[in-house]
């Protein structure tokens, strides 16, 4: 046999092989249906009742925003607590790598667990012929809670394109805070109207852990949230926001604690049922003292004989209320034995304590502020101020009657600025444990005044001792993947991603 014929034979065999392979491929092409069926995940649902997602959205919005772990920035910047040694760089006004971990956690949980869920519920209720405006309004109101917190912390953040990865928007643009605010207040008014016009049966009966599907409460919440945002923006754009404030004041607001935007908890050892702050109590039971109350807070409560002291602060083993200064340098930290310093009070950490993302006291104080500065309504700011104190104390199961009749702080005194300081300081106390809002309010109002740090025992950090005005963007994935959009935002905010850059609304000195 010649070489040529050999090669021919080989070729023939190969061709034959390919033909056989090809015919098998025709046979198996018929298997596609079988393949598709096999590749359907039996462990999970391809469709889900949207009310399941809604209940999760409510829980995530509350617990991911004001659970204990989300408060390391707020609690320390608000000078209300000192967190564990691993988070001490926050308290020392540093912006190191380490800081990014908590910031990343907050940033990602807002987008992954809140905004994405809201978008999904909106999509499920926007199908043609089956549009449910009420459900859309409820979900988007909750999304705004997260967006507001994000923008108040970071400044410009993804807003219009956020949480839309499913629709191929993988690199959301960062929107200007001013634009975000303008949209949020507009949306909230639209939602308030929707809540007023809708039939509650179209909402989430039995699946609304916050207001139990009470549309009156939803309307009050939307309006109160709008008031909060407008008050926050009023120094940056008084022309626009003073009008909005006046508008909000003409409509129902959260008047008492029964209307709070709040999540109920239960006396239980089960994590999902108890107040997330109860985890701290578990730490203390293990003789681990890694979270203590700030000296600034304890001293204020002591100096003013405030009856909330025992709810917010637990005496140490010697029966004394002792706070720890914020911002100690490492060497000075050694002078403090954490186990000798007070920790948050038992009531605040109680397993069944509800968590408020918005409470009546804040709204009364905002109303007092509005009245004080003639932004709408013509009531007496002092009355609103006292209502605020009353509601705040009521939240800690304290009857304010005695306090309001005896305390020198029971009435607004002095000039408008002094009165404003009094109102803002009361808000600072009333926000606890939503420390992040307390810090934001210090930035907005300047009260209580957190002085520049000059004591050598205190860290000046990267801000020369001044209270930080924002958080740097999360360190890892968002920065590396969506860096171009993030950089655009950084450029808008002055070219550097720093913690002492004020956000848009932070204009009051």
């Amino acid at each position: 046999m010649t070489m040529k014929s050999t090669i021919y034979n080989i070729k023939k065999s190969v061709v034959k092989g390919i033909i056989i392979l090809f015919s098998i491929s025709l046979i198996t092409a018929a298997c596609n249906e079988r393949f598709e069926e096999m590749n359907e995940n039996p462990n999970a649902l391809t469709e889900i009742p949207d009310d399941f997602l809604f209940a999760s959205l409510v829980r995530n919005t509350v617990r991911d925003n004001i659970g204990r772990w989300q408060q390391d920035f707020g609690a320390q910047y608000a000078h209300q607590a000192i967190s564990n040694s691993w988070q001490k760089s926050i308290d020392q006004y540093l912006d190191s790598h380490q800081q990014g971990d908590v910031a990343e956690g907050m940033f990602s949980s807002a987008y992954k667990n809140c905004i994405k869920y809201a978008n999904e519920i909106v999509a499920l209720n926007s199908e043609e012929g089956n549009i449910n405006e009420l459900k859309i309004a409820m979900s988007k109101t909750l999304a705004i809670v997260s967006f507001a917190k994000l923008t108040d912390f970071f400044g410009d953040v993804p807003y219009f394109e956020a949480g839309m990865g499913k629709y191929d928007i993988l690199l959301p643009k960062y929107d200007e805070q001013e634009v975000i605010y303008a949209d949020m207040v507009d949306q909230l008014e639209a939602f308030r109207i929707t809540f007023g016009n809708s039939d509650a049966a179209n909402g989430y009966p039995g699946q609304d852990p916050m207001f139990n599907n009470d549309l009156d409460k939803w309307a009050r919440f939307a309006n109160s949230l709008r008031l909060r945002l407008a008050m926050r923006a009023r120094f940056a754009d008084p022309g626009k926001y003073n009008a909005i404030i006046a508008d909000c004041l003409t409509k129902p607001l959260i008047d008492d604690n029964s209307q709070n935007a709040s999540l109920e908890h239960w006396e239980s050892e089960r994590g999902e049922l108890y107040n997330p702050w109860y985890n701290l109590m578990i730490d203390y039971m293990a003789d681990t003292y890694q979270y203590n109350v700030s000296k600034t807070l304890v001293d204020w409560l002591l100096d003013n004989n405030d009856p909330r002291l025992e709810s917010l602060v637990k005496p140490n083993s010697d029966g004394e209320f002792v706070g720890m200064p914020n911002g100690l340098v490492d060497a000075a930290l050694s002078n403090y034995i954490r186990s000798n310093i007070s920790v948050p009070g038992d009531l605040m950490l109680a397993p069944d304590q509800p968590l408020d993302i918005m409470a009546a006291s804040e709204i009364w104080f905002l109303r007092a502020e509005a009245a004080l500065f003639n932004l709408g309504g013509d009531e007496d700011p002092n009355e609103y101020y006292q209502k605020g104190i009353e509601q705040s104390m009521d939240r800690w199961k304290i009857d304010a009657t005695e306090y309001l009749s005896t305390s020198p702080l029971a009435n607004l005194t002095g000039d408008d600025e002094e009165k404003f300081e009094q109102i803002a300081t009361q808000m600072w106390i009333a926000f606890i444990p939503n420390h992040a809002e307390a810090w934001t309010n210090i930035r907005r109002t300047g009260y209580p005044e957190i002085a520049q740090r000059n004591d050598p025992l205190l860290s000046k950090g990267v801000t020369d001792g001044y209270l930080p005005k924002r958080l740097t963007y999360p360190y890892t994935v968002e920065k590396s993947l969506n860096g171009d959009n993030m950089q655009e935002a950084i450029n808008r905010m002055g070219g550097e991603d720093k913690i002492d850059t004020p956000v848009w609304w932070d204009v009051r000195d």
Partner: protein, 1149 residues
């Protein structure tokens, strides 16, 4: 009679010989009489007839004997002597009856000159005699075969011929007779020729010469003597290009196996494991992370392969070798062939006993000068003593025997305690016994074995019990049908696998950070306080290991059934059909509980977890094989067939917490619990063709064609169908050029190219929702954070390799060299997304990883003396160069770095960056001036510099050197393996410095405390020049060498915690290790003559004995955090490294 026919006859004789002995020796006695009726038949047929009936063998030279001589013979019940006498009458031949039923036939009259030579043939390993050896008079075709005792006798024309002894697997030996009558021969084994037949893809046995790709085969002796419970560990250092790392993680820990580098960014990089042609599960169980939690190494599926049952392991490297296995072969294939019974006399029984002791020996160096506290002070009060940072660190005062109050509130002297690692860990033991039965004849053989293993870890309650039952049989039903079957059952039970990493009861982690004055006795005697709460457990660090021993328990079982049934039909002489089906079924259960009372275990509530899962992989294939000789020169083997693979996994998992009644560990005793279920299945259909074309005896061309259809990829546009192929060429140039050099014995060049496709896991194409399992008064639902991709495509690996194999001086020296280059594109990977999109990950196709490198193996026999002394040496070395060519880029994002793993606190981060290697270790370095000096700030601390590459997990090269000395009954071998280059992040060292337990944390302490005063030693003593730790570097302001002393505790807090500088803890993994030493002794047969034992061999074995070189002291560089692709990147030193000693006794009856 041509040479070929002669050889065939010789083979036939061997078969007859063996066959005859097997039966005949039992059936016939020497005096057996015969009846014959022969009419005009050629003499040669008469011989055959007699041979068949009686077992007498005729030995003759066909040059001298006329075999066609017609014979008539009619005898009835006559003795053999009578018969040969009759034959002598009819021919002019002389028949001489020898012992062993041998009849020598010579022409009459010539017998006077001829002589009979007798002797015995043996080898180093078979000193009692080698059966079946060909003994031929050189230059003629006359020959005999040795009997079972290795004895032979041969008639030679004169006493001055040369006898040639040859046997498969041994060097052919020529011995001049030189007038003697007894000629004994000791043959030496020829390693190369043993390897000649290798098992390749689809269990096809092939001549190694003809392969176009690199393959390494390791035989049973090497695997079973120095037994490791995980059979993969036996390959460490023996196969070029194969990297094996064993994490110290308790008995039955898993093994990191990487062949020729990491090819997939996010997928599985372990080679496919195929046992007897059937792929088996080879993954790891339980993933150990880098941080806390209860992470355990639950072993890997490979450890279920019983080393005793392994006949050989072939490592097919590179895609060319493994394309026939489909997608999963892209990372290489390890083919395991288990023992079949062999043809033998009667039933063979062998017993093997193995006992080893594991000794922990790599303990970190701990300082013995300073005890609990901070700033040189003992903690001020009991709360601080019990658990307040930084007072739970070892930065307190000097331990000088002064009285202090300890955490129990008791007064005790303040003195250093012995190294707790040395105190706590104890000797581990492992006993393994196997009994195997085998037997067979020319048509049927079988083997069955039972192995029982009991091991105890270096922590007292960590145990393993494993039983393996194996049954294998083969039979030939007539000429047409061959049936091969196997059943293997493994029962595996492990108890109390230790917590690893920063696990809350990970003992090593506690000891790493525990103040140096805390005594283990105190910990052991006081695990709980008066309220029943765990004592000496502190936040962020660890708990009391003794609390764990008393209050935690975990247990897992694996029941595994592996089967194989293969039927081969020999349709025509050159056409056969093989159908094979086999499954690997595994049931796993795992339970774990912790009593209540520990903060670290469900907040004092305690927990229970219980799960079980079933997994099956079922492979069925059919293969039609056609072999033909197209011409004198061209031979073709062609196989065509198909494969069906089905994988299914289902599991149920329960978990709960909060015990109602103490010490009663059942699910119903829990306040809260929930149940989860999981199910997953996939299938792949394949059509394949493979073939070999050979040209003469020197050119071989192999090809593989394969198309897969996978259920996990989109069906639209046939995206779930992918084709791949490989081509391999082998060229034996010494045959081609007809080189007959005494120096260059054999030479081969080979080349291979392959493309291999790959699919993904089930259910990555669609988005899903979950329902919250809760006790809330409303229902919750969840969305995945991973975005599915309905457009996934198969990924592809392309590879080529070239190599050469050269043999010198009759293959006394052999050199094997391979250069390979492989790259993987369109990788299916889960990548991070910008989280503001709402999702944290998504599935995409992208990225290109390249691996190229070389493998070199040099083996030789420097000494082989006639007296039996032999020295064999093998050196293998390989270097892999990995490169991330591209990561991912699509409409949305172009990414040039991917974080593969981060350590706790993000100190060290393993990344893949475009242009870099896969698995580079990044971290924050000190700020440096242009000369590389560390810049020191005015406070005296090293300044924070760039986040940059500080190391790489990839070694520069790895290899092994094995030596084997044999002399008479003794055999000594040792294996040294080495890794040069590569780094890892030593998390434990960083913590020892941070917490002040490590020796290097002593730097500057004495100096600082002796020059500073006040509480916390913050103030300089007036008039004393302040001293302390002085960071080496340059003062950033003055440019002068730094001379500012700092209090040492702050050095670490500031540089590591606050600034995140990790440079000092990225350490060199270079090491040279005495991996294995074996001293074997085969008991001389004469000692066993009066016993029922046929053969006895005793070996003393040591493994991982010591380091000849270790760049970083006291840490096992293999001690990575897990067995994943990048598991070697971080070391947490949770378990100390161990070495083992033992003996291995093999007896056959």
């Amino acid at each position: 009679m041509g040479l070929r026919t002669k050889l065939i006859l010789m083979k036939l004789k061997l078969i007859l010989f063996v066959g005859c002995l097997f039966f005949a020796s039992q059936l016939f006695s020497q005096d057996e009489n015969l009846s014959l009726e022969i009419n005009n038949q050629p003499l040669v047929d008469v011989f055959k007839t007699i041979q068949d009936q009686s077992g007498y063998r005729f030995f003759y030279s066909d040059d001298l004997v006329d075999l066609n001589k017609q014979i008539n013979l009619s005898v009835n019940n006559q003795s053999i002597q009578t018969i040969v006498n009759e034959l002598e009458n009819q021919t002019d031949l002389t028949f001489r009856l020898m012992e062993d039923k041998l009849i020598v036939v010579v022409p009459a009259g010539e017998e006077q000159q001829s002589a009979i030579i007798t002797g015995k043939v043996s080898s180093a390993n078979e000193p009692q005699g080698l059966p079946g050896v060909n003994v031929v008079i050189k230059g003629t075709t006359k020959g005999v075969i040795t009997d079972f005792g290795g004895n032979y006798s041969i008639v030679v024309p004169d006493k001055y011929v040369i006898l040639q002894f040859s046997f498969i697997g041994f060097e052919t030996m020529d011995i001049p007779v030189n007038g003697q009558e007894i000629v004994n021969a000791v043959l030496t084994e020829n390693i190369e020729s043993i390897d000649e037949v290798v098992v390749t893809a689809l269990a096809i046995e092939r001549n190694k010469e003809s392969l176009g790709y690199s393959i390494s085969q390791v035989g049973s002796e090497e695997i079973a003597t120095a037994k490791e419970s995980n059979v993969m560990n036996s390959l460490a250092g023996k196969v070029a290009g194969l990297q094996i790392n064993t994490t110290p993680s308790g008995v039955d820990g898993s093994t990191r196996v990487v062949l020729r580098g990491i090819s997939s960014l996010s997928g599985n990089n372990r080679p496919l494991i195929v046992v007897d042609g059937i792929p088996v599960a080879g993954g790891t169980f339980g993933t150990v992370g880098t941080s806390g939690g209860d992470s355990k190494d639950m072993g890997d599926a490979l450890s279920d392969i019983n080393p005793e049952d392994v006949e050989s392991m072939s490592v097919l490297k590179g895609a060319g070798a493994s394309a026939a296995y489909g997608s999963r072969g892209a990372n290489g294939v390890i083919l395991i062939t288990t023992k079949k019974g062999s043809k033998r006399k009667g039933i063979g029984v062998s017993v093997s006993s193995n006992f080893t002791v594991d000794q922990p020996y790599l303990f970190p160096d701990l300082q013995n000068e300073y005890g609990q506290g901070a700033f040189g002070e003992y903690p001020p009060d009991i709360q601080a003593i019990k658990g307040t940072e930084p007072y739970i660190w070892s930065w307190g005062p000097k331990m000088e025997g002064q009285t202090v109050t300890n955490y129990l509130g008791e007064e005790e002297p303040f003195v250093p305690q012995p190294n707790p690692f040395e105190e706590f860990y104890e000797l581990g033991t492992s006993a393994q016994n196997t009994i195997a039965f085998e037997g067979g004849d020319s048509n049927t053989n079988f083997r069955t074995s039972i192995t029982d293993q009991h091991s105890k870890g270096i922590i007292e309650n960590n145990k393993l019990s494993k039983q393996t039952l194996n049954l294998r049989g083969f039979t030939k039903l007539g000429e047409v049908l061959e049936v091969d079957g196997k059943v293997t059952y493994v029962h595996h039970n492990a108890e109390n696998r230790p917590d690893l990493a920063e696990g809350v009861t990970a003992a090593g982690w506690s000891f790493n950070n525990m103040p140096r004055n805390i005594s283990l006795a105190d910990l052991e005697n006081n695990t709980v306080d008066s309220e029943g709460k765990e004592l000496w457990s502190w936040d962020r660090t660890a708990g009391n290991p003794y609390w764990g021993l008393e209050n935690k328990h975990n247990e897992d079982t694996r029941d595994r059934l592996q089967t194989l049934l293969s039927v081969k039909v020999n349709i025509l002489e050159n056409l056969s059909f093989l159908a094979r089906s086999g499954f690997d079924f595994m049931n796993r259960t795992a339970t774990e509980y912790a009593a209540s009372g520990s903060k670290n275990h469900a907040n004092f509530k305690g927990y229970y977890r219980n799960g079980s899962e079933n997994n099956i992989e079922w492979n069925t294939d059919a293969l039609l094989t056609y072999k033909t000789q197209l011409s004198e020169e061209v031979k073709i083997d062609f196989n065509i067939g198909g494969n069906h693979r089905y994988n299914q996994g289902k599991g149920i998992y329960q978990s709960g917490e909060n015990w109602r009644v103490p010490n009663y560990y059942t699910m119903s005793n829990l306040e809260d619990f929930g149940t989860w279920e999981g199910f997953s299945e996939k299938e792949v259909w394949s059509a394949l063709g493979l073939g070999q074309i050979s040209w003469k005896n020197y050119l071989y061309f192999d090809f593989t064609l394969r198309n897969d259809w996978s259920s996990t990829l989109p069906t639209k546009d046939n995206q779930n169908s992918y084709f791949y192929h490989s081509e391999n060429l082998s060229f034996l140039f010494t045959e081609f050029l007809n080189i007959k050099s005494s120096v260059l014995t054999s030479g081969k060049l080979r080349g291979s190219y392959a493309k291999v496709g790959n699919d993904t896991g089930a259910y990555n194409l669609n988005d899903y929702y979950g329902v919250g399992q809760s006790q809330l008064p409303y229902s919750t639902g969840g969305m995945s954070n991973t975005l599915a991709n309905s457009n996934l495509m198969p990924e592809n690996t392309f590879s080529w390799e070239v190599g050469a194999n050269l043999g010198f001086w009759s293959n006394r020296l052999e050199v094997d060299f391979t250069w390979y280059d492989a790259y993987t594109i369109n990788q299916i990977m889960k990548v991070k997304t910008a989280v503001s999109s709402g999702w944290s990950d998504r599935w995409i196709n992208s990225g290109e990883l390249s691996n190229k490198g070389f493998e070199l193996q040099i083996s030789g026999t420097p000494i082989a003396k006639a007296d039996g002394f032999q020295w064999d040496v093998t050196l293998n070395m390989s270097k892999n160069i990995s490169e991330v060519v591209s990561l991912y880029a699509d409409n949305y994002q172009q990414v040039d770095n991917v974080v593969l793993k981060t350590s706790v606190m993000d100190w060290a981060i393993v990344e893949a960056r475009v242009g870099g290697e896969f698995g580079e270790i990044y971290g924050i370095d000190y700020a440096r001036d242009e000369n590389g000096n560390i810049l020191v700030d005015p406070a005296g601390f090293g300044m924070k510099g760039e986040y940059k590459k500080l190391g790489s997990i990839n070694p520069d090269f790895i290899g092994g050197l094995s030596n084997n000395f044999s002399y008479k009954n003794f055999n000594l071998s040792f294996l040294i393996d080495f890794q040069v280059g590569g780094e890892y992040y030593s998390h434990s060292s960083l913590y020892r410095d941070l917490f002040g337990t490590g020796v290097s944390s002593l730097e500057g302490r004495e100096e600082w405390y002796s020059t500073h005063q006040g509480f916390g030693h913050f103030l300089p003593i007036p008039g004393v020049f302040p001293d302390g730790y002085i960071q080496e570097g340059v003062n950033v302001e003055t440019g002068q060498p730094n001379d500012i002393p700092i209090q040492p505790i702050f050095r670490h807090v500031e540089t590591m915690v606050n600034r995140g500088i990790v440079t000092d803890y990225i350490v060199d993994a270079t090491n040279v290790r005495m991996r294995e030493v074996i001293l074997g002794y085969t008991i001389p047969k004469r000692w066993l003559d009066n016993t029922f034992i046929a053969r006895a061999n005793l070996s003393l074995v040591g493994r991982n004995l010591f380091f000849l070189y270790l760049a970083t002291d006291k840490i096992d560089p293999e001690g990575g955090f897990n067995a994943g692709s990048i598991g070697s990147a971080f070391e947490l030193n949770t378990m100390p490294g161990t070495r083992s000693f033992g003996f291995n006794l093999n007896l056959s009856f």
